[in-house]
C-alpha cells in the first residue's frame, strides 16, 4: 500500500510542470533549495555566537543569547505561518481518483496529512533548530531543558503545519491577523509596545520546566486529530473536495465607460482582481509594500539617500511590480479568445497601464505619511511615484511580454513561486526599474544637490511618459512575434 502511494507521489513530482522545465532551471531551483537549507543550518550554528558578541558589545541588552532567541521566536513562527499560508499546497488535489478505490478513507487522509509533514516547510525549521540545540548543549545549558525546548519547537512547527490546513479556507481571518502582526512588529521596532515581553518568557518556560514540552506536543497531536476528523468529514465530492462556488453578481461598472475604448478591458481587469484569489492577493500585497520603506527609516540604511530612493520606488510601485510583471499571464486561461477576437494589443495594454498608473498614484498618496521622517522622504516618495508611473509602468509591461507562465487564477499556492517567471530577460529589465533611478539620483545629488537628484528622477519619469507610445509600439511587436509561443505555453496545464 505504502509503496503504491510512494510511487504515485514520485511520479507526480517528477512529471509536474515545475520539474519539466529545462535543466538550467532545475539546477537553479535545486541550488536555491540547498542554499536555503545550508543557510538555515549555518544560522542555527552561529546565531548563538553572533548574538553573544552583540550582547558583549552592548548592542543588545540581554543576559544571554538564548533569551534573545526566545524573544524573537514569535516572529519566526508568524513568518513561518505566513509562508505556509501562501506557498504550502494543500493535499486535496490528488485525492479524487483514490476515493472509489479499495482503501479505507482513514488511509487516504493519513496519507494526505502525512504528505504535508514531509514538506520543505517542516524540514527547513529542523535545519535551524537542530544545530542551534547542539550549540546550546555545547555551551553548557541544561541538557534536559534544552531537549524539552527542542521538542517544543518542532511540535509548534508541526502544529502550524496542521493549523495551516484550516487557515487555508479562512481568508477573512488571515488578513486582519496579518495586519495586526505587522502593526505589532512596527510598534515594537519603535518601542511603543513590545509583544515579545510576553511571548519570550513563554518560550523560555519550555526550557525552565522540562516537562512542559508536553503542552505543544499535545496541541500538535490534537490539531492532527482534529484535521484528521475534519478531512474525513470533508472527503465527499460535495463537501471538501468540491471547488468553492461564490455567489456571482453581475456588475456594470458603467462609470468606467468614460475612459473610451479601453474601458471594455478596464472593467474586465477590475473584475479579474476582485474575483480571483491569486489576483486579489497580489493586489493586497501590493499595498503592504507601502510599509516596506519603514525598514529604511532607521537601522543600517537610516538616513542614507540610497535607502530613500530605493524605498520610495518600492512603496509606490508594489502593485506595479507584482501585477504588471505578469501581464499578459493574468489573461492566460482565455488567451485563445483574446487572440481570436477583435482586440488591438495597444488598447489591451493601455488598460493594464492605466490600472497600474492609478493604483501607483494611490499608493504614492498613501505613502506620503513618510513625511513624518523628514521632508526629504516626501520628495523621494513623490519622485519615485512619478518615475514609477512614467517609466516603470511601461518597462514592466515590456518585461511581462517575455513571461509565458500560465496563471491559475483561482489558487495562490505555488511552491517556490513561479520559477518560470524569472528569466534572464526579465532580470535584465529590473535594471532600469531599480538601479537606474538610484544612479540618476547620485549623478545629480553628488554634483549639484539632493533636491536636484529627486527632480532628476521625476523628470526621467516624465520623459518616459513622453516616449510611452513609442515603447508601446515596441511591446506590441514583441507580442506579435511571440504570439504562437505564448499561446502554446498557456495551453500547457500543470
Amino acid at each position: 500500500m505504502f509503496k503504491l502511494f510512494a510511487n504515485l507521489e514520485w511520479k507526480s513530482f517528477v512529471r509536474s510542470a515545475a520539474f519539466k522545465q529545462n535543466l538550467f532551471l532545475k539546477i537553479i531551483i535545486g541550488f536555491f533549495a540547498i542554499v536555503f537549507l545550508l543557510e538555515f543550518a549555518g544560522a542555527g550554528a552561529v546565531s548563538f555566537y553572533i548574538i553573544e558578541g552583540l550582547i558583549e558589545d552592548g548592542k543588545i541588552t540581554a543576559t544571554n543569547p538564548f533569551e534573545v532567541v526566545n524573544k524573537f521566536l514569535i516572529y519566526w513562527f508568524v513568518i513561518d505561518l505566513i509562508f505556509r499560508y501562501f506557498m504550502q499546497k494543500m493535499p486535496v488535489s490528488n485525492i479524487k481518483p483514490l476515493l472509489y478505490l479499495p482503501f479505507t478513507k482513514g488511509k487516504i487522509v493519513k496519507y494526505a496529512l502525512g504528505k504535508t509533514v514531509v514538506s520543505f516547510f517542516n524540514i527547513l525549521p529542523a535545519f535551524f533548530f537542530i544545530p542551534f540545540t547542539v550549540v546550546l548543549l555545547i555551551e553548557g545549558y541544561d541538557p534536559i531543558g534544552v531537549i524539552s525546548w527542542h521538542i517544543a519547537m518542532l511540535s509548534i512547527t508541526l502544529l502550524l503545519n496542521f493549523l495551516n490546513v484550516f487557515l487555508n479556507n479562512l481568508n477573512k481571518v488571515f488578513y486582519p491577523v496579518l495586519a495586526i502582526l505587522v502593526a505589532l512588529g512596527v510598534s515594537q521596532y519603535y518601542g511603543y509596545f513590545d509583544v515579545t515581553a510576553y511571548t519570550g518568557p513563554a518560550f523560555e518556560f519550555f526550557y525552565n520546566q522540562p516537562w512542559s514540552f508536553i503542552i505543544p506536543l499535545a496541541l500538535a497531536y490534537v490539531t492532527y486529530k482534529y484535521s484528521y476528523t475534519y478531512f474525513i468529514k470533508e472527503l465527499y465530492l460535495d463537501a471538501g473536495l468540491q471547488a468553492k462556488h461564490e455567489v456571482a453578481k453581475t456588475e456594470n461598472l458603467e462609470f468606467l465607460d468614460r475612459f473610451g475604448k479601453i474601458s471594455t478591458y478596464l472593467k474586465n481587469d477590475i473584475k479579474l482582481i476582485k474575483r480571483n484569489k491569486r489576483a486579489r492577493t497580489t493586489f493586497i500585497m501590493g499595498f503592504f509594500f507601502i510599509f516596506y520603506g519603514l525598514f529604511f527609516t532607521a537601522g543600517i540604511y537610516g538616513g542614507s539617500d540610497f535607502g530613500k530612493v530605493f524605498a520610495a520606488l518600492f512603496c509606490t510601485g508594489g502593485f506595479l511590480f507584482s501585477f504588471g510583471g505578469l501581464v499578459p499571464s493574468w489573461d492566460s486561461s482565455y488567451y485563445k479568445l483574446m487572440m481570436s477576437q477583435n482586440i488591438p494589443y495597444r488598447e489591451f495594454l493601455l488598460s493594464k497601464w492605466w490600472l497600474m498608473a492609478v493604483v501607483t498614484a494611490i499608493s504614492t498618496l498613501l505613502s506620503c505619511f513618510y513625511v513624518y521622517f523628514g521632508i526629504e522622504w516626501l520628495w523621494a516618495i513623490l519622485a519615485g511615484g512619478v518615475y514609477n508611473i512614467g517609466l516603470n509602468g511601461t518597462v514592466t509591461l515590456l518585461g511581462g511580454a517575455f513571461v509565458k507562465t500560465p496563471i491559475d487564477l483561482t489558487s495562490n499556492k505555488k511552491a517556490f513561486g513561479d520559477s518560470k517567471a524569472f528569466n534572464i530577460k526579465t532580470l535584465l529589465l529590473t535594471i532600469p526599474k531599480m538601479v537606474l533611478p538610484v544612479l540618476i539620483y547620485y549623478a545629480f545629488a553628488l554634483t549639484i544637490s539632493d533636491a536636484a537628484g529627486f527632480i532628476a528622477i521625476a523628470v526621467t519619469g516624465l520623459l518616459g511618459l513622453l516616449f510611452r507610445d513609442r515603447m508601446f509600439t515596441l511591446i506590441e511587436n514583441i507580442y506579435k512575434n511571440e504570439k504562437y509561443d505564448t499561446i502554446a505555453a498557456y495551453a500547457q496545464k500543470d
Binding site: E246, T264, S333, K336, Q341, Y484, A491
Partner: protein, 252 residues
Amino acid sequence: MIDIQNLSKKYNDTTVLDIESLQIPKGQSVGLVGNNGAGKTTLFSLFLDLIQPTTGHIISSDIRVDESEDWKPFTSAFVDESFLIGYLTPEEYLYFIGELRGQTKEDIDALMVKHADFFNGEAIGQKKYLRDLSKGNQKKVGIIATLIGDPEVIILDEPFANLDPSTQIRLKAIIKELSLNPNVTMLISSHDLAHVTEVAQRVVLLEKGKVVMDKVKDAGTFAQLEQYFMGISELHAVPVEENAAPVIIEEE
C-alpha cells in the same frame, strides 16, 4: 469564400494536417467529421491563427489569416473552454464580447431573450461565474457568444458534445436557420454523424490529416459515413486467431 491551398502542419516530422486544396463558397455550412487525431481542431486553430502552418495558408474573404488580422471582425469561434473568461458571469461575458464586436448592451439583452429557450432556464441568471457552471452550460454560453455581431464565418468545434438532448435539438434548429443565411459560412465539427448529416450542407471527412471524403450532403451520406468509420475500426481489430497467441509472435 474560404480558400485553403497546400495547407500542412507538422510537429517533429509528424504530419497532423495536410490539405492540398479545399474551397468553401460563401454561405455554405460544412460539417467536419473524423476520428480523434484526424486534424479537425488543428484546422480550426490554423483558421484562427492560433498556430502557424508549416506550409500553405488559409484565405478567408481575400484575407490571408496568418498575415493580416482583418479577418477577426467577421469571424467568430468557440473551440473549447479557453474561449470563456471563467471569472465573469455569463451575462458579463456576453456583454464583453458584444462590446468587442461593436454591439450595445440592448443588442445583447435582445439576443439573450431570443435564445432563452436555448439556455433552458439555466446558465443565464444563475448567480454563478462561468467557471462554476457545468460543461454543458458553459458550452451554451460559448455557442451563443459566437452569434454576437452578425459574423460571416462561424467556427464551432464539437458544439453538440456535453449538451443535453433538448439543447441539442435547439442547437440544430439554430444552425439550420443560420445555414439558410447566404452571408454566413459555417464550419462545424462533430463525432455524431447523425447531427452532422442533419445540419450540414456539405460533409468533409478527415483521416490522419487528409481529406478522404468531401461531398455535398444527400440522402445517402449518413450511410456512407457510417460504412467508412466501421471500415476503419475493423481495420484495427485484431483477428481472433492471432489474438490467442501474442507471446509467440513476440518471441519470433
